[in-house]
Amino acid sequence: MNQFVLTQGSSEELRLFPHILELGIVKNSSIRLNAFPKTSSDGIKIFCVLEGKFEWCVDKGQYLLFPGDVALILPRQEFGSGNGVLEIGSFSWMHLNIRQNGNDEILLSAWSSLSETESSAISKILLINSSPVLSKFYEAGKILKSIQNELSGQEVGYRARINHQIDELFILMTRHLTRQTNSGRDFPKTFMNLEQALRQNLSHQWTVEEMAALVGLGTTVFNEKVKSYSGFSPINYLINIRISEAIKLLKRPDKNLTDIALDTGFYSSQHFSTTFKKLTGYTPSEFRKNHLSKK
């Protein structure tokens, strides 16, 4: 087995890049037992298959990866070979130290030049995505190779270039994931997926950028498509879902209005109350009274 690994703390090359925990490449020419057990750790890991084929477990699923395929392992997800075997072939990987805030949102830290909204949209898509395998995503292997070259060459500007390339990797991964789930051919299905994502994270303060990124469209085209398909702007459609869910919660006597407001994504009970009245003609408490009392 040939292996080349840089590790934070022991490799001088990574001194200027505290966010890179590990960067490596492996070429394995014979099957090795117990060489690739399942482990989990903080941070994000990206594994790019270069040669051969590997059967890997990510989280609870099992996946077969071929050259060009990439496994994306999110913080605390289990990753490794199901039976611990390291198969024949070659792959490269990078392990990044990523912080998460209280909502588990992934924060791309000081090294990143992405804006806050962009990085939040990327985080949302990586977290919502259900398949950890990006198939035929050759760009990732190329970027890891290029980062390795920059680290060993240390030519002028290498620090900036490496950090740019990590950003680039995140952007491309996000775009690849949305294209993988949305073929760009079936808007009704795509809209249904979006609707599901919104409902599952209704308390999140969604922006149009995040919603558009989830669908894999630019905001202008996204606005047009949603408007012509649903009759509503994306934000008004979201408000529609919020109030519909609130109506259901109001019919349950055990929840207080502030909780309902926050659960359904309103930033205050005042904001909830005005919006609710505007759309339904009743304030939330009037509505609750009408529906809880016996007619």
Partner: protein, 503 residues
């Protein structure tokens, strides 16, 4: 100036139109609502989201167009999809989501009744095919499989009744929607005891049965205020989308049929008599007393061509299905009639009329080495329309059809309209970009207001300007293929069943 507002509660969206008293459209808006499929056979919608979406869209239309132009809303008339089922508790709150027409969970209930002699007499009395779409079957399913929900149920409403009740407080069901529940004796216009018994409910659990012209009381105060409407705005219960579509095309009396092709499709005729079919292939719904809308529905309309487009369209821009469809149709128009012998059975979603076989599947037949992509495209369109023709042909066993009108997004594509004229060998009329369902609601409202003496008189004013005439040569060619199509559709039944079991 007075205006009439029509509200169409469709499968995926609510469409609100405002008409002046001459039937010109002043404004229109739509609002989408989702359908949930939590199990493969399930198809459900959130009644509160539908109500909210309807309010939101209505309010926007009133504020944007109606109030600013100083129109006074004389009435609001409803239409909706058929066959929905919403149980509510004693407080009037929904018990879960509404079950829509497309829901197939009640397969067993439908099968058991269809195979019995009781089934035959229930179909004769109610006119609704014994199929999982029928509310009678869905209610029986709830009784058999969701005992807690059944126990808490105080009333069972179609979605439209729930929406109207939210607005006015009145529980009402119109003749048309009632006649599509499988529970109404359409000859006596009374709830049918045997059907109620099968469903496991009594008549008190259903809304009040009323004619389509009935006003459902006053808007609640809160809605008068928030919508800016006066207390005397009439809320007319209206009819079903199917009945409104045929009325909106001006069909009243015999000799004409209306073809609707959206995602799914239907061929309908109107007449004074119930169309009794020994093979139970048709529905018979009531528009008014002694006025029956009869016909057959297909699952496989425009949705099949959309499927084809998603597989083979070029999609130069993401999600631009309209453009991709047009390109494919341009290709198809260059292929000769009959697609050089490539034949397509469109049963990707199983089929209702006329073969009523849920196991039916799609087939390309007659494929040879010279066929190209464009042949597949043309054959697919021809197959969808052969199916539409086979419904019309079975209807002609009972009724004389001299001419056709057509509506719906797929049927009104000029290439398709011409093909229908050719296959049927009858002239076809339509109005481009026209909403027949909403116009039917307008005619019904205007009749209620006394602008027309009767629905007959209202229907006579409808003028459909575009006419497509059949080409004799094309008709002859199509008929050679249709003969094979028709035979395959029934002959393959054993193979359909076997392959469906493997899927």
């Amino acid at each position: 100036m007075k205006c009439i507002i029509t509200i169409e509660l469709g499968t995926n969206a609510v469409r609100v139109f405002a008409f002046d008293l001459n039937g010109n459209i002043i404004g229109s808006l739509k609002g989408y609502y989702p359908t949930f499929h939590t199990e493969p056979d399930y198809s459900e919608q959130d009644p509160d989201q539908i109500f909210l979406t309807m309010l939101y869209v209505l309010k926007n239309l009133l504020n944007d167009t109606i109030h600013s132009k100083k129109y006074k809303v004389a009435c609001i008339c409803f239409s909706s999809s058929m066959h929905s089922v919403l149980p509510i508790d004693k407080h009037g709150n929904p018990l879960g989501y509404a079950i829509t027409w497309a829901d197939n969970r009640a397969k067993k209930e439908a099968q058991s009744l269809k195979n019995s002699s009781a089934g035959r007499s229930v179909y004769k009395a109610t006119g609704t095919p014994l199929h999982p779409m029928s509310p009678m079957m869905k209610i029986a399913w709830i009784k058999n499989n969701d005992k807690e929900r059944y126990r808490q149920t105080s009333k069972i409403l179609p979605l439209k009744s729930y929406i109207i009740q939210q607005l006015t407080g009145e529980y009402m069901i119109d003749y048309s929607i009632a006649s599509a529940t499988g529970l109404l004796n359409i000859h006596k216009i009374k709830w049918e005891p045997d059907a109620l018994k099968f469903a496991g409910i009594n008549a008190n659990m259903l809304p009040d049965l009323v004619p389509v012209f009935t006003s459902a009381g006053k808007l609640k105060k809160a809605y008068q205020t928030s919508l800016g409407l006066s207390a005397d705005t009439k809320i007319i219960v209206g009819s079903s989308d199917g009945c409104m579509a045929i009325l909106g095309d001006g069909v009243k009396g015999e000799g004409m049929a209306t073809i609707t092709i959206e995602d799914s499709g239907a061929v309908r005729v109107m007449g004074g008599k119930v169309l009794q079919d020994e093979k139970q292939r048709f529905f018979n719904y009531l528009l008014t007393e002694n006025c029956y809308v009869s016909g057959g529905p297909t699952n496989n309309g425009g949705v099949i061509f959309e499927w084809l487009t998603r597989q083979f369209g070029d999609f130069k821009n993401p999600f631009d299905i309209d453009h991709s469809m047009q390109e494919l149709i341009n290709d198809a128009s260059k292929v000769p009639v009959g697609s050089d012998g490539l034949l397509f059975l469109p049963y990707l979603l199983g089929e209702r009329a006329p073969i009523w076989n849920a196991n039916a599947r799609g087939v390309y037949f007659g494929l040879n080495i010279k066929h190209e992509k464009t042949h597949f495209v043309r054959a697919t369109i021809e197959g969808i329309l052969y199916e539409i023709f086979s419904i019309g042909k079975t209807l002609e066993e009972h009724r004389n059809i001299k001419s056709l009108s057509i509506n719906g997004s797929f049927g009104t594509i000029p290439f398709c309209t011409q093909m229908i004229a050719d296959i049927y060998n009858k002239p076809v009329r339509l109005r481009q970009n026209f909403q027949s369902v909403s116009f039917g609601s307008f005619l019904l409202s205007a009749t209620e207001m006394g602008i027309y003496k009767s629905l007959d008189e209202a229907a006579k004013t409808v003028f459909l300007p575009d006419q497509y005439l059949p080409e004799k040569q094309n008709h002859k060619a199509y008929m050679k293929y249709f003969k094979i199509f028709e035979r395959l559709s029934t002959r393959l039944a054993p193979e359909f069943e076997e392959i469906a079991n493997l899927q």
